[in-house]
Each structure stands twice: as C-alpha cells, then as structure tokens.
C-alpha cells in the first residue's frame, strides 16, 4: 500500500484481503465496507467493481492471533483461566472470580467497557459450560428467561458441526438446536456422527466439556516452585541456569534453538519481574544465555530486588528456530562464525541492538551503493561480495571518497576517452596509463535525469592509481564534470 498514491478521502471503506486459490478475496471488512454491501468471501476485483473507492490491506492472520493473545493477556485480570476461541473469541472461566466485581454482570460490564475503549465491539454470554457460553455468545438472538430455553432456540449452526452437517440438518427442517434435541439422539448420531451427539449432550448440559486451556505462546516453558521463597538473587539465577539447561535439552530433542527467551521471577508478594533476551542466532548454549541474562540484569535501571523472596521461577522460550546438532569443531571454521554471532549478541545486549553494525554487500551497479552498514544482529540474507578475479587487477578501489572529489580534467578525448592530465587538490597528475570506460548508467527509476558515469582506472606518471569518472556523457550534457571517486592502494 502506498497511501501517497491516493487522492485523500475520508471514511473510505476498508477491507482486508487474503490470497486464496483462485484469487484475492475479502477476508474482513470495516463497518463502512459492510454498509457499502460487501461481504467476506467476495473477490477483490468484484468488490472493487462495486465499491471502487475501497481501500485494501493484506490480511495478517498471525497479527490477528497476536492481538487476540494480547486481549487474553489483558483478561487475565479477571481470571487466570482464559481460553482462545479462534479467530475472534475468548472464553473466561470466571467460576470463583466474580467476588471482586460484585457479580458476573458487573464483571462483564467492566470487560466490555475496557474493550470498547480500544474500539472493539463485544458480545458476551454466560453459560454453565464453556460450550453453552460460547454458543450463546455467538448465536443467541433475543434473550430467553433461562439458559436451557435460550440454548434450544439457538440455530443449528450453534452446534459447531462442520458446514456440511449444519446445512444438512437445516435442510431437513431442523432449524434450531431444540429441533435437533427433540429427535432421538441415536438417529442424529447415525447421520452426523458421535461428535454431533456429544455436542448436543454438551449443550443440554448433560456433559460438561473441558475448558481448553489457553495454548501457551511459549513453545517451551520450564519452572521451579519453591516451598520456601528464596531471598537471594544469586540463588534464583542458579535456578534459572538449571531451567535453561532443561530447556536446552528439550530444544535439542526438537532440533531447535531458542531466539527469544523470557525469564519470570514471581515474588511471593505477587510482583513479577521479567527478563527478556534475544539472540541473533538460535542457540542452546546455557553459558551464553546466562551471560546475556546477567548483562540484562546489569543494565536494568532498578536492580533485581527479591523482596520477601521468589516462590516461582519460570523460563519460556518464546521463539525457537531450527538448529541442528552442532558440529564438533576441529579447526574452528564453523565456530568462528558462531563466535562473531556471540560477539554481536554480547555487544548488542550491552550497547543496544541497533548500534552494532556491519558492512554488507548490496546488489547495485552504483559503486557507492554497493555496500551498506546494517545492524549486525538483523542478519539479512547476505549478498555475497563479488569475489575478485584471479589474475585481474581489481575493477574498483576498496576505499571510496564520499562524496567523490571534483577534479579538473584536461585534454579528455571526446566522446569516451579519459583526460590526459587532471588536477586534484591543486596537484596536476599526468596520466600515464588508463583503462575504460566502465559505463554505469543512472537509475532512471529514482530520477529521470541522472547522468551516466564513465569510470576510468588511471595511473599517473608516478605510479599512483586513481579511479575517476566523468559525470555524464557528452551526448547528455555539454560539459560533463569529472570526479575522483577513489584511489587504488
């Protein structure tokens, strides 16, 4: 999306699209778009034909999930037991949690208000079981005097069966959950499977489905609980090291290494202290991890304060990536790369990731753009440096002037010869040997009128070698200027 391309418009309908087989289709819509008559599932082209001003963004399922996770985190203020009901629901087990809010309605009101502040539209329902609550929240229309009757009035879709079974039931004339419940369970099971029968039992309350514990974000989590809170930070860190060893073992089994680690030290008084570290490469190196944790602690504004002591230490691996069993190093080839990575991690943790940089080759003909300084930890897919050719002098010097130095050229051959002599910093150099031109045309897509450069490798009478260029062809301008761009060693 390039917003500057559009003529500004307020209140444009917005849609999120996803690319599925058969084209780009609408995935989610804002209110304006719904008002304009669009529905999810429509092809983008179709939607555009109807609502030409529609603004479109790529749907990001992952971001949606993360957002839901964050909401779930937030809901933990009401109850520790929060389950995700993907893609857009949360199930809270509030049994025993309502006292703080003087009743479940207050709790719900509080929750709705908080979410409304973030611009969310919330529908909620209470139920004796997670399934009824879920079904009621998603499908209930008008309120009913009691939960059982409300459930019976739900459309068959609330059974949560697959689409085929749902339509089949509805087409058979069984439009509500109650209609289905009225039929012998065996006949339903014979047609729609045990699963359907189970759902009915869950909704009528004869079976209580489990609340699916919220899937932890962390791939691996290990923890130590202590009967007696431990009051020494040093001891807590030893525990952390033990946990790291356990986690590393699990990672080894999975052929993975962690990149994002989170340690949480739970104080007996309820305060939680978090330590997050991130490595540039996936790792299972406990020593490295502990060094990083220590550095993180050192860099904290407030030092760790155990207070009355920690009663729980937990370590989560939030992000893990493939890492095969490392080779034993004999001559250190492989290890060196690892050492650089370690150095980068170490420096980055102390100085800030953005401040540790390295040169990286870039794919460009323009000499000054062929290399770039990038944050070292970002580890971009490295463009290989062009290997110098054997038996050939280098085409370009290692050192470039930035910006190139203007020179005064004398007696250059038109149209494509180098000068016979030139003045640089008040010194005149007589050209003894030259080769070129290497012609590099301007990047027309950046600006229309970038002049072409003709580069020459020059050696003066005293054996000094220069890299000079004429900025512009004689056909492009009347008197192109000359520059010295670098010197060969």
């Amino acid at each position: 999306m390039r917003p500057h391309l559009f003529v500004g418009r307020a209140e444009t309908p917005i849609a999120f699209v996803e690319t599925v087989s058969g084209g780009v289709r609408l995935k989610a819509l804002d209110r304006e778009a719904v008002r304009a008559g669009l529905q999810p599932g429509l092809t983008l082209a179709d939607a555009r034909a109807r609502v030409p001003e529609l603004e479109v963004y790529e749907h990001d399922a992952h971001a949606d999930h993360e957002w839901l996770e964050r909401l779930a985190d937030g809901c933990q203020r009401y109850t520790p037991s929060v389950a995700l009901d993907e893609p857009d629901g949360l199930i809270l087990d509030i049994a025993g949690c309502v006292h703080e809010f003087e009743g479940e309605r207050r709790l719900a009101a509080d929750l709705e208000e908080r979410l409304a502040r973030r611009g969310l539209l919330v529908r909620h329902a209470f139920g004796d079981t997670p399934d009824t609550a879920r079904a009621l929240a998603r499908y209930a229309g008008a309120p009913a005097p009691d939960e059982k009757r409300a459930v019976k009035r739900l459309p068959v879709a609330a059974l949560g069966l697959d689409e085929d079974a749902t339509t089949a039931l509805s087409r058979a004339g069984l439009k509500t959950v109650g209609d289905v419940m009225a039929r012998p369970l065996a006949t339903i099971a014979a047609r729609f499977g045990e699963e359907a029968a189970m759902m009915i039992r869950r909704l009528d309350g004869s079976v209580k489905g489990p609340i699916v514990a919220r899937r932890t974000v962390a791939k691996i989590g290990v923890e130590r609980r202590f009967a007696e809170p431990i009051a020494r930070t040093e001891y807590a860190l030893e525990m952390l090291a033990e946990l790291a060893t356990e986690a590393a073992a699990q990672l080894t089994d999975r052929h993975e290494g962690g990149r994002r680690w989170e340690a949480r030290l739970f104080r007996a008084d309820g305060l939680v202290q978090r330590l997050r570290i991130e490595t540039g490469q996936p790792t299972r190196d406990v020593a490295l991890l502990m060094r990083l944790f220590r550095e993180r602690i050192d860099s904290l504004a407030d030092p760790l304060d155990p207070g009355f002591g920690y009663d729980l230490v937990r370590l989560d691996v939030a992000l893990a990536e493939k890492l095969d069993a490392s080779q034993l190093k004999l001559e250190g080839g492989e290890a060196q790369k690892g050492e650089v990575a370690q150095l980068v991690d170490q420096l980055g943790t102390r100085l800030g990731r953005a401040r540790v940089r390295r040169f990286s080759a870039r794919d460009s003909h323009i000499p000054e753009q062929a290399e770039l300084m990038l944050p070292a930890a970002e580890a971009p897919a490295p463009t290989p440096w062009t290997a110098p050719e054997t038996g050939e002098p280098p085409l370009r010097p290692i050192y470039l002037f930035d910006p190139p130095q203007p020179i005064e050229s004398m007696m250059a051959e038109v149209p494509d010869g180098p000068p016979h002599r030139f003045r640089w910093r008040r010194t005149v150099h007589d050209v003894a040997h030259s080769e070129g031109p290497e012609r590099i045309a301007g990047e027309w897509w950046r600006r229309q009128d970038i002049p072409t450069r003709d580069y020459y490798r020059i050696e003066d009478r005293r054996g000094r070698r220069f890299w000079i260029f004429r900025h512009g062809l004689y056909s492009e301008m009347e008197t192109p200027r000359w520059y010295l761009h670098g010197v060969f060693a």
């Binding site: 780009v24 030409p52 439009k175 062009t386 027309w444």
Partner: protein, 1170 residues
C-alpha cells in the same frame, strides 16, 4: 565505409529479453544507414517473418520511414542458446536447405522440452549444421542451467571459459572451416579493449575471423528503461530489488557504423567481417516455396485434372446430367482461377477432411465458410451447402481472388467431435507435415498493467485497482481517464512512469500458444519450413508462426473449428430419428423455406436459435422482419459493432421498409459506370453491411488495388502501427473525390470502413451461419422439445442458461419432467407422451397443463397459491397438416442427471445400468448402484427420489444414514441391514424452499418461479410484473422487479442492457452510461433488482424500460429459504460474471483468439464490466 551490418540483433520475440519489435529494429537499421541487419531471437524464428514483412512494407513506403536503400539486406536466423553450457551460437542459414536444417534443429529442441522452451545441446547443432553460417558468442546466455556471471556483461572470461571457448571454436570450425566467426561486443565493461585483444588472440589462434557486433536487444538508446522493466518481469523481481540483474548501462542498442568503427579501432577487420558474412548468405524468406500436400489425389492424376474431373462428376450427378448453363459458366471461370493460382490441392484437401467427417459413424456434421468457401466448386464438393447460384455470391469471391493470399476456408465441426477430425489430419499427413498454427499472445492492457506495475514495485492492490477499471475489448490504449477514475493522481511520477511503460509494452508478444484450429499442411516436411512445438494439449503440435505470418509466406491453412450449434443440430436429428420424427439432414431442411419459421423469427421468438438469440438480435428481428435466407444473412451481420458504429443499421432498416429510397452516388462518368456502387450494394439497399463490401468500396470507388485495400483493413485492425493510417485516409478520400464523388460522402465511407476494419462481419461467413440460423429455427419451430433437449445436452454453448431454455420450451407447450432416479439418464431425454411417473410427478407443463404439487404442503400465506402461469401466447403453431409426418406436440422432456450440479456421468450410467427393474427405495438404489455418499447426497438434494415415495427432506435424511460402503457385506444376507428407525417427523418443506433448493442443485425449478413468492410484497410497493410492464402505455413511468438474466454493455458502452425475468416474462431494461455510475453497485451486484424508468415501445412492438434507477433487492431471495442460497442463473453471456475477454481487433474480424471459437466468432463485441 565497409557497409557495416549488425548481425546479432534480437526482437521482442526473444521474450522478455528483446525490447523492440522487428519493425523498429529494421527501421532503425535503415535510419542509421547500416548495410543490413540480422534478426536472431533466442531459439526461435517466430519473429523473423515480421522483420521480413516490415522491410517489405518499408520498401512499399508503408512504414512511414525513409525508403531503405536497394542493397540494404535483412538476414534471418536464430540465436542458439544451449543448455549444456556451450556458448551461444548465432546461426544463419545460407540456403533454403540450411533453413530446413535450422528449423529441424529448433524442432528437435522444442519437442524435447515438455512444455514450452527449447532444449538444445551442441550435439544437436553438429547433427544439423549443414549450410549455416555460425557466429560463436564468447559466453552462454542460458539461464538456469548455467549460472550467469554476477557482474555485468563484458567481464573478463575466466580461464576455464577461455579454454572452453578454444575447444568450441575448434569443434565448430570442423563443421565448416569457412563459415564460422567469433562475435565480439564492446559492452563498456571497463576493460573492453583488453578483452577484445584476448578474444582476438583466441580467434586468430583458431583461425576464425572476429565479427564486430553490439548483440543488440533494442533499437534506440532510450529503450534501456523498457529493457530493465522486461528484465524485472522475466526475473520476477522489482526494479528496486533487481540490482545487478539489470544491465549496468544501456549500450545494447543499434549503433551507427562510425561508432562501431571507433569501438573496434583495434580490430578494423572485425567490422569488415559483417559484410563478408552478409555476402555469404543467399537465403531469404521469399525462398520458402510452399507446396500443397498431394494426398487426396489418386495415382496418375494431376491435381487440377482430378479436381475438375471429380467436380464435373458431382455436378452431373447432382443435376441429373443436365448441368445448367450458368453453373457451367461458373465452373469454367472458377477452374481457370484455381489453375492459375494452383489451388487445386487446397480444395481437394478441404474436401478430403470434410469427406472423412461425413464418413464417420455416426457422421460428424460439418459446414464450410470463408471467402473461398462460397465457390461453386466448394458447393459441389459438399464443403458448403449454400447454393452460390441461388444467392449470387460472386462478388465475395472476387476480393479473395485478387488478394495475393491463399484461399480461406474455415470448416465448422460439432464441438464435441472436432478432436476426431484433428487426429485424422495428424494421422493422414503425419506430425512432420501437419501442425496447428500459433497464436501469438500479446501483452494486453490488464496483463501489462499488472506486470509492469509489479516490476515497478507497485503492490498488487494498486495494480488491481487500475486493471479493474480497464474495459476489456476496445481500449487497448490505456486511457488517462481510467487512471483518474481510480482515484490515482495522474501526475504522480510513479503513475506517470507506469503509464508510459504500459504504453510501450502493450502489444509486445508474450508467448506463443496454439491457434484454435488452424492447420498448416505441407507436402514436404513441415519442420523444414518452420519449427514445431509441443502443444499444451496432448497429441497436439503447433508451429511457431501465426496466421499473419502464414499468410505473408503464402502457406496453406485450413481452419478446423468447433461449433456448438452443430452438435446441437446433430443431437436434434438423432432424437428425431429415435422418436420417429423423421430422418433429417442439414441439406434437406434448409431447402424448403417455410414461412412459419420466418413467422416465428419475426416475433423475436428465437431463444436458443443460432446467432440470433442475443437480446440485441431479438430486438432486431421484428424490425428487420426476415422472410428469406438472405435476410438472415443480413440479420447475422447487422447486429455488430461495425455496422452499428458506422451508423448503417437505421438507413438499412428505413430503406428496407421502403421509407427511404436507396441512393447510389455516381462517379464522374469519365472514371466509371454510374451504377458502380449500385452493382456493389444493391442487395443491401445501398448500405455497406459486410466487410467485403467495405473493402470493395475502396477498390471500386477510390481506385485502391486489392492489395492496398487489404492493407488498409489490416492496418486498421492492428493499431499501434507507425504512420500509415493517415496515408490511407488521404488516399481514400483523394481517390473518391478524384473520381467525382462528394467529399462528404467519401468521408462517410471512410468512417464506415474504419468501423469495419476490425469489427465488420464478412458476408462469406454470414451466409453459412444464416443456414444454421434457419435450421435451428426450423427445429425450434416444429420440435421445441427436441430442440430444448438437444440444446441442454450440448451445453455449454449459446447465450442462455438451462433455466431460460427450459422456460422457453415450456412456453412452447413442452412438458418438462424433473430428474428422477427411476426415469432419468445422464442426458436429457424425450419420453413418450404417455406418462409413467405416478401421481407425485410434478412436471412443469406449458399451456393448459396444470401444475401438480401433490405431496407438497404449501405453507405461508403469500406463497400459498403458487401455480406457474406460462406465456402460451408466444407458442408457434406446432403442427401443420402439410408438414410431412405430423410432429407430436407436447413430447415430454425428461431432465437428465447432467443437470444436477456436480453429478458425474459414470454415476448416472451406473444407475441406468442396474435399473433393470424400478428402484423400490433409496436403500435399494444404494445397494444396487453402489454409489459414493456424495452422489447419493446430490440426488437427494436434487429431489430425484420422488418416485420412490420420498420427499426431498426425507430423502436427505435417509441418504445420510445409508453407509454405502458396508452394503456389500450385508447384501449377501439379502436383508435390509439398517434397522427400523423411529420416524423423525421432519417438518414439510415449504414450496418456496423447494424452489430455492431446486435452483441450488439444478439451477432451475420446475415447481415455480422464485418471483411469484415475492409478488405480493412487490405488488404492495406498486412494483409491476413484467407482463404488466409490457402492457403499460408508452411513456409511462414504471417499476419492475425481477431476477437478473443478463447484463451487457455493447459497442461503445453508451448503454447498458439489463434483462430481468419474473414468473410472467421478461423486461428489457436499458440504462444510459451517464446513469450507470450512480447505480453501478446495484447493477453489478444484484441478482434480484427493481428497475425504475419510463416505458418505451417501438413501432414494431418492442418494449424497453428506459431505466434511470436500479435497486438491489437480492436480499429478498433469502426470504424463500434460509438454507438454500438461491442464485438465479445468469445467461452464459452475462458480462459481469463472464467479462468478454480482451481481444485484439485482429486482421480478420472473425479471427479467434484464446476462448471458445464459438464465443469469439459469434458474440457481439462488447465491453466487459470491470
């Protein structure tokens, strides 16, 4: 001056590599004063004919550039790019034989590649090298197999490469010591001179001369940016990310001799070598002498003699040994022409193909058309059935005879059986002598915007927004307005750049595809004429030249086309034979011109009829009032953009009805006879309607040579031609005024010809089509059930969806019976009028037949009295005493399983196979036919179990319980394996829901029309039914509701046609473009709409609702059923759902491209809705 020639120049047929077309390359070479140019593309000769033609045109002064010097030479060959790491080798055939070797070499590579591409190794060249001049390039440019050097071209060769180059030079030199060069470029890579010296040393050591070249990829310096863009498209990257995939500089353009001389000042010999190489090449594409295949002639006969003998024989037989004098004269005249042009083989070949089709059992229906097809010879040979004596078609032949082009005969075959004919041709001539012509797929606005946009780094979203506003057919030029419409700032530099690039890339060839049916046949090996490729379809091969190339070189082409209506007619004949309704042939029907058939057509009653079934045609029928075959010829041709935009329709109609006298302006008597135009236009009342007439107008009235007239037509068809057009305009006006015509009249003629250039319909085609119009009308008129049945069984074809065809049949008195497991087969069928379905059979009957809905409980007040009225008024006379065996009115049409969406033929066949006795229950059927669950569900959904006493809901409930896979085990026990179950007491399905379910499964309902359930609601709002609207007074305002049948935006797009349907009939809405934008969403998205406007009735009784407002009421369809998404079927030609594909107005208006040939040739040109 050594007369330097650039001998390594690519065109845009080096797909996504070359960035200029052949014309530009040749033109620039001439402009630079080069001694010549050698066109070589990567492993192909697909572009060389264009270069050849460009030079010819330039010599004729038609390219809008300086006249090439007489000794300017064009040589053609190919750049061989090897997969085995061998450096590229440019190969120029020096003789005709060498050309044959080259094309065979490329064929070997093409056939080796599974699909697309050309896989060659050095060994292939060694095997085919004879009579070729070879230029070895120092590096390979193969992509993929060999990694391309990461640095720009012109780097030092690695040692290994150098050694390899020596070996290659040595190896190639052995092929012809005197005919090999080492091609060296000076790419400004920084060390060009050292490189030249080194390569020079290698060449000298090998005893091979060095050839100076630029290895040009484009004509002008300024083309560098376009080359960068195509590189990005090729590499699937963006200009910002491409980096060193792009060339470092823009040096690969054609250069003048002085610059080459300066670049190569160290080796002047290299520059001189180009002239030497040029002098060694004797071959030109003009040397390709085409020879017709000799197959169809008995031994000992000369082709011409055999043709004459055979045709005379046929004439004697047909006329019972008394050949009429006029026929004799015609035959003599035609034979002379055929002899002069040596076309005898051509006629015999077409005859042979037609004879094969007719000899099959059952015979394949076929019919010829095209300029050469209207000859007496073709008529007697049975290629066509339009009697040229009767229709006086001489003048259409005239054009083709003076055009220096091979004759043109297209033969249509039944679309389901064309493949048999094609395979016969391959069998008969062999794959080395027969292949399909290529179709060059060009960059079209949409694809260009998409790909250029991607290359420039614009997101899919932006480009889609742009492409969604490109209307398909006419606008090949990307218009400023289109950009503005999308909300983009036209002055935005990125957008400006996109526009410019799109304009330049448009019309570039994109890839080769196979022509729909144009066969090229030769006597000698075809692969020694042109390289052959594997087709995308198995068992197909095609050559790499397209129709225009073939025309240019004078190769013979026979178009083997597929026509759905022929299938339908054949199926109609089969049904009639089966049911004792007579034994018919195309010829026996078309002779008698029955007034009742024309009566039907005059009423506009033509749904399903070939060619004249579109709304526009239906509206035209009552105005044109056809009474004989030639009227149908006009009818077919007149509803086309050409005549419409040339403003010829109204003058024609006025003159035909006698309201206006036909005028024929005369030239100055000293130039020609006063009635020269009358001679030309008398059959069409002085209005040029056919392409031939327009062409001939230029010849007769403006003194064009036939060749010029043809070029005029072609240059109008292919826009983007440099200059030229103005010349023709001046020449035509000048020619006509000079011969004494009024300037104003001349100007009008030019306008008309302009309209025709691309969209005119040739009379030679309209004639053959008219016959099929008549035959299909005849069947529809006398055997509506047969016609409907055959149409349904030939789907997909035609304009309308099955629902509309069935409805039309019912209105003509046919009883249509639903799909049923105990009565249906895969195909729709006719059952005897005695019905055996039992009391529950709810058929949809026309006229007085009542609608029985027994067993269906109808609920809901508004929906209660749901009977289906039918418009019996339109029913034609079904039986006439004088009409041979009396056709039985009211034959029943039984729908077949093919109407059930998603059902499969093998399931249907299995049901029929095991149905020795009627099925007693669902379980019975499940046990005997052993169908998968999906099939059973579909049958239940489609309500096909009625005859086993099950209503749709019960059936659905039951099939879900029947697990078919376990049945075999229990079947042995011969007991019903499923225990008795308590009745589920399912609620009855309301009729409205039944209808919705019918639409969902079979896309039509025999029970009722969806609109009638909503009638009360609409009536309450004062909204009329179609019947009421059609009875409303002219000029009254009205609101009409209906489900959408078809939306079209024909011609210039000034008007949008929307046809809606309800239980009483249809309403034709017409909306002007100015009202469209405000109603865009409703027009585009609705399936049920309310049209508001003013009723307008024409003299002929055609009623339109001049619509100013459209309401989308689609959501009301949901009232019918919650569970069945009711989507009323749209006609097949609805342009919103099925946008008309972008087509280039090709050289000949009927030239098919990409889609189904029927659609391409027959649909009126129109704009799509996106």
């Amino acid at each position: 001056m050594t007369g330097f020639a650039e001998l390594v120049a690519a065109t845009n047929f080096s797909f996504l590599d070359g960035a200029s077309d052949a014309g530009a390359m040749v033109g620039r070479a001439v402009e630079l004063g080069l001694g010549g140019i050698g066109i070589v593309d990567r492993n192909t000769v697909a572009g060389v004919v264009r270069a050849h033609q460009a030079l010819k045109k330039a010599r004729d002064g038609l390219l809008g550039m300086a006249m090439p010097p007489i000794d300017f030479r064009l040589v053609v060959g190919a750049r061989l790019v090897f997969e085995d790491g061998t450096p590229d080798i440019v190969a120029y055939p020096s003789t005709r034989r060498g050309w044959g070797r080259l094309t065979r070499l490329l064929t070997v590579g093409n056939r080796r590649a599974e699909k697309g591409g050309c896989i060659l190794g050095l060994g292939d060249l060694i095997a085919h090298h004879a009579d070729m001049m070879l230029v070895v390039m120092p590096e390979s440019s193969a992509r993929g197999a060999v990694p391309v050097s990461p640095l720009p071209d012109g780097d030092a060769l690695p040692e290994r490469g150098e050694r390899e180059l020596r070996t290659i030079l040595k190896a190639v030199k052995r092929l012809g010591p005197d005919s090999i060069w080492l091609g060296v470029t000076m790419p400004r890579g920084g060390r060009d001179r050292r490189r030249l010296a080194r390569l020079g040393r290698i060449a000298d050591a090998a005893g091979v001369p060095v050839l100076a070249t630029t290895d040009a990829l484009y004509a002008y310096t300024d083309d560098r940016d376009l080359h960068d863009v195509v590189t990005c498209i090729r590499e699937r990257t963006t200009i910002h990310k491409a980096g060193r995939l792009l060339a470092a500089n823009g040096e690969r353009h054609l250069k003048p001799e002085e610059e080459i001389a300066r670049l190569f000042r160290d080796r002047p010999d290299a520059v001189a070598q180009s002239a030497r190489l040029l002098s060694r090449i004797a071959f030109s594409l003009d040397d390709l002498k085409y020879e017709y295949p000799h197959e169809p002639i008995p031994a000992g006969w000369e082709a011409q003699d055999w043709l004459e003998h055979h045709v005379w024989q046929l004439a004697l037989e047909r006329y019972d040994y008394r050949v009429p004098e006029k026929m004799r004269a015609l035959l003599h005249e035609e034979f002379a022409l055929i002899r002069e042009r040596e076309y005898a083989y051509y006629f015999l070949t077409v005859h042979d193909i037609v004879r094969f089709a007719r000899a099959q059992d059952p015979p394949i229906l076929c019919q010829g058309r095209g300029s050469a097809a209207n000859s007496v010879v073709c008529y007697l040979l049975g290629v066509t059935s339009v009697d040229p004596m009767k229709y006086d078609l001489l003048f259409s032949r005239f054009v083709s005879s003076e055009r220096d082009e091979p004759p043109d005969i297209d033969v249509d075959f039944e679309h389901e059986r064309r493949e048999e004919v094609m395979q016969y041709i391959y069998r008969r001539y062999g794959r080395d002598r027969a292949a399909i012509a290529a179709t060059v797929i060009h960059y079209r606005p949409k694809s260009t915007v998409r790909e250029v946009g991607k290359a420039l780094g614009l997101t899919e979203d932006v480009t889609q927004r742009l492409t969604s506003t490109v209307w398909g057919s006419f606008s090949s030029r990307f218009q400023e307005q289109r950009f503005a419409e999308t909300g983009f700032d036209v002055d935005n530099p990125e957008i400006a750049r996109l526009r410019e690039m799109v304009d330049r890339l448009l019309e570039f060839p994109r890839h080769l595809s196979q022509h729909v049916g144009g066969f090229v046949l030769t006597q000698g090996r075809l692969d020694e004429m042109v390289p052959i490729h594997n087709g995308a379809m198995e068992e197909r091969t095609f050559i790499e030249w397209d129709k225009d190339d073939i025309d240019a070189l004078g190769l013979m082409k026979v178009d083997i086309l597929a026509l759905g209506m022929l299938t339908c007619i054949r199926k109609s004949f089969d049904l009639m034979r089966l049911h004792g309704l007579g034994d018919h042939l195309l010829d026996t029907i078309a002779v008698a011109e029955d007034p009742r058939v024309y009566d039907m057509l005059c009423k506009g009653d033509s749904i399903g009829v070939f060619q004249v079934e579109s709304r526009a045609q239906i509206n035209m029928l009552p105005r044109l009032r056809p009474r004989e075959l030639y009227d149908l010829v006009v009818q077919v041709a007149i509803v086309r953009p050409g005549p419409i935009e040339g403003d010829m329709v109204h003058p024609y109609l006025r003159r035909r009805s006698g309201k206006e006298v036909a005028e024929y302006p005369s030239p100055d008597p000293k130039f020609g006879p006063a009635d020269e135009l009358k001679q030309l236009l008398r059959f069409t009342y002085g209005v040029p309607l056919f392409q031939e007439q327009a062409m001939k107008l230029a010849i007769v009235a403006a003194g064009f040579t036939p060749n010029e007239a043809n070029q005029l037509r072609k240059s109008m068809a292919t826009f983007r031609k440099v200059g030229g057009m103005d010349n023709f305009h001046a020449k035509l006006i000048g020619g006509m005024v000079g011969r004494g015509y009024q300037a104003e009249f001349a100007e009008r003629c030019f306008k008309q010809i302009e309209g025709f250039g691309s969209y005119g319909f040739p009379e030679s085609h309209a004639l053959s089509f008219a016959r099929l119009v008549y035959v299909s009308s005849w069947i529809k008129c006398f055997h509506p059930a047969v016609f409907c049945c055959a149409l349904l069984n030939s789907q997909p074809m035609g304009f309308y969806a099955p629902a509309q065809l069935v409805r039309d049949a019912v209105e003509h008195g046919v009883t249509v019976l639903p799909v049923d497991v105990n009565a249906s087969g895969w195909d729709n069928s006719l059952s005897s009028p005695v019905r055996g379905g039992g009391p529950r059979e709810a058929g949809w009957r026309g006229a007085s037949a009542d609608v029985s809905l027994a067993g269906v409980t109808v609920t809901g007040g508004a929906f209660a009295d749901a009977t289906f009225p039918s418009g019996a008024s339109a029913a034609p006379p079904l039986h006439h005493p004088a009409d041979g065996p009396p056709p039985r009115a009211g034959e029943d049409l039984r729908l077949g399983f093919r109407q059930v969406d998603g059902f499969r033929k093998d399931w249907a066949d299995e049901i029929v196979r095991v149905r020795t006795t009627p099925f007693a229950s669902i379980e019975d059927l499940a046990r005997r036919a052993n169908l998968p669950q999906r099939a059973m569900n579909l049958l239940a959904d489609a309500d096909a179990f009625r005859s086993v006493a099950k209503e749709r809901r019960d059936a659905l409930w039951d099939v879900r319980r029947t697990p078919p896979k376990q049945l075999a085990l229990f079947a042995a026990a011969e007991v019903p394996e499923l225990g008795v179950e308590p009745d589920a007491h399912l609620p009855a399905m309301p009729l409205s829901e039944q209808v919705a379910a019918d639409y969902q499964t079979t896309r039509l309902s025999l029970k009722a029309h969806p609109m009638q359930f909503l009638r009360a609601r609409f009536a309450a709002e004062g909204i009329l039914s179609s019947a009421q609207a059609n009875a409303t007074k002219d000029g009254r305002r009205a609101k009409v509701a209906g489900v959408v049948l078809v939306r079209q935006r024909p011609g210039k797009g000034n008007a949008i046609f929307v046809t809606i349907e309800d239980e009483t009939g249809i309403t034709n809405g017409l909306m002007w473009a100015r009202d469209f934008e405000a109603n865009r969403r409703a027009v585009m998205a609705s399936r049920l709409m309310v049209l508001e406007g003013v009723i307008q009735r024409s003299e002929e009784g055609v009623t339109h609702l001049m619509t100013s407002r459209v309401q989308d009421r689609t959501e009301m369809l949901r009232l019918l059923s919650e569970d069945h998404a009711l989507e009323p079927p749209l006609a097949r030609v609805d342009e919103v759902i099925r946008p008309v594909l972008t087509r280039s107005p090709d050289a000949r208006a009927h030239h098919p491209r990409a889609t189904h040939p029927r659609d391409v040739r027959v649909l009126p040109k129109s704009r799509d809705f996106h």
